[in-house]
Symmetry: C2
Subunit: 382 residues, 2 copies
């Protein structure tokens, strides 16, 4: 059996120290000891998200936090602008519709990104829009959207800016406060290196005011005002996922010890190296504006993508992700965030070369690794 | 430092093998390996809940599953009968109201239970009630309600029977199918011995038909139809809490190996022993009809309850739970479910005696342990 190497854009590898935290005997959550841990976690999340805002901790997948960012914010019959560019940004619209919110969709083709000027036009045309729902890293396409630029056009409007940074925060620049993000949604199992099952919401004062104004919120488990009240006491309103939080605290300690800027630089560099490798192998990249935390790549014409991913896993233990929705069977996705480092990525590229070679694709063995190594060497000033 | 001994009615102690499962390296959830684990978990839950119905696995606390059992089931403006007898059954009403459901409340004082004949009267008076929301083990009062008898009166009516068995299932008899329970809500961190963060819903065919009929469900993360669709493929619709599930699978293996009947008998016996001990110490029990998984006890007049619980923890590491809501500062609660066995309970009783003695309460040392031991000896036919 090949040794398992998880390189999907979530879930991702969890550091040993965090796995030890997960295994620790459960302690009761209504205790000073737990409150101390909880406050440390909130402070760690604020550090990673570059925010002074309240950070709410939910026990759910990232989708639960997305729902919270709709159901608490826009009243039934209210209006929101949704920036759609893939499977995950489409989810904003689906959630909005499920909660009776009118979604004004600005849709671009998969792999593309948005024109901030068009967002400005939509805001002018819909001054009653309560919020703009966007995405930092669209992990179905590998696109990293320019949230900073979108923030500049949303800022002067009355609308809130809500950003799905589930797979983005911690992997690419995400200046929550500086960019005017009112609600930031993040998941535990991406760049934060935690196990799946926790989601986070950074909430600005303006967002709190809006939430307070929604009289009839269809939210109980995700009632953000209940979380805010508990947060003041260093607690969660419902029994929190104690083991997951104990593990996450270790992840956040490691991120703080390394420093967020160094981590972001590593993901950025690994992204550049990965893209250079894919191009050297003659593969086509999927994202017009690539995210730092993952790379999406089209399978070459005529290659059986399922077979390619299956062989990577069975021969070398390398687990990559396939495509989703309309890109199922068309792309594969490799993560370069969290624990993953230069050698993990170079090794994965080498495995891809060998499998492509074995499958008869015209590849020059070593070409991808060489291109990626050159990017790394250049970045190191060699 | 005294060794920590967790005896709260959730979270509870997690077996070593499950903690090892929690610490295992994360594997991707879209894989045959994970689907096999997931199917094993669902089968294990069906075994514990004594049901052939679909069992949906949510990543949330038990409250999330309660919300799912309201938001998917009763349309906005619909009606439901709520059986209220404590903090957790009150939550059914609060969730119903939050989702625009008219809650017909049958409320009894804390510590009391319901008359099935009164439930029948309410069903006759409200033939349009979509569901009756009840509770198996009301852990705020230590009452175990007679769901079997309530099931007999709900059965002939058009209403569904929805039961919060978050802390009950696995600790006391819960014959989901035989008793006509249409939606059973259970949490991971009680009698199932798992860490907190997972919740389960057993859904009957009649409940599925009702859910399908609700056109406008204010549920996305908790959209049960999405879970049913994924369940058929051995998956969850959103990234599941992989580590928690890996740990839970170990818990369920242990329960199956021991046999559910033996486990239920153990909780029942430990409950009898605990109650005998409390009465031998002159303490008053809180529940008219006691649950098998926990015992709630009034602090004696004049005793500082906070000090009592604090000394139990600091002197002996024994962590019990206090009261909630109107019973905050009035009762304490001790669990006898999951991993906890005879010696854990006898030791905890001995610790209580010593702390009561130290605080000047007129206790005869050993009296509680003697009474509990006598119950155990009698049960063993000694």
């Amino acid at each position: 059996m090949a040794r398992y190497r998880l390189l999907t854009p979530g879930p991702t590898q969890v550091p040993d120290e965090a796995r030890e935290g997960l295994a620790r005997a459960v302690r009761h959550h209504r205790s000073d000891e737990f409150r101390k841990l909880f406050r440390e976690i909130v402070a760690g999340l604020q550090y990673v998200f570059q925010t002074q805002h309240d950070v709410v901790v939910l026990c759910s997948s990232g989708t639960g936090a997305m729902e919270a960012a709709v159901a608490n914010v826009v009243p039934r019959g209210g209006k929101a602008i949704v920036l759609e560019s893939g499977k995950f940004s489409e989810r904003w619209r689906l959630i909005a519709e499920r909660f009776g919110v009118e979604a004004i969709s600005y849709e671009v083709p998969w792999g593309e990104t948005f024109e901030p000027s068009r967002v400005a036009e939509l805001l002018a045309a819909h001054p009653d829009a309560v919020a703009v729902y966007g995405t930092l890293s669209e992990s179905s396409t590998g696109v990293g959207h320019d949230i900073e630029a979108i923030g500049r056009v949303v800022g002067p409007s009355p609308a809130l800016l809500v950003v799905d940074a589930i797979s983005g925060a911690g992997a690419m620049e995400c200046r929550t406060d500086a960019w005017g993000i009112d609600l930031l949604v993040v998941g535990s199992q991406k760049a934060l290196m935690g196990p799946p099952g926790l989601a986070f919401l950074a909430v600005s004062p303006a967002a709190w005011r809006q939430i307070e104004s929604v009289a009839d919120r269809p939210a109980y488990y995700f009632d953000l005002l209940a979380y805010r009240q508990a947060l003041g006491a260093g607690e969660a309103p419902f029994t929190p996922a104690i083991s997951l939080l104990t593990g996450l605290a270790e992840c956040l300690r490691q991120i703080r010890a390394e420093g967020i800027e160094r981590r972001l630089a590593r993901s950025r560099l690994l992204g550049q190296a990965t893209r250079a490798a894919m191009e050297a192998l003659g593969l086509r990249l999927a994202a017009r504006r690539p995210a730092d935390g993952l790379t999406a790549v089209f399978f070459p014409e005529g290659l059986d993508g399922r077979e390619f991913l299956g062989r990577l896993e069975s021969r070398f233990g390398v687990k990559l992700a396939g495509g989703q929705g309309p890109w199922k069977g068309k792309i594969f996705r490799i993560a370069h965030l969290g624990l993953l480092d230069e050698l993990d990525i170079l090794a994965a590229i080498a495995a891809m070369e060998l499998v492509l070679f074995e499958m008869g694709y015209p590849v020059r063995l070593g070409a991808g690794v060489a291109a990626a190594s050159q990017v790394i060497a250049t970045a190191r000033g060699l």
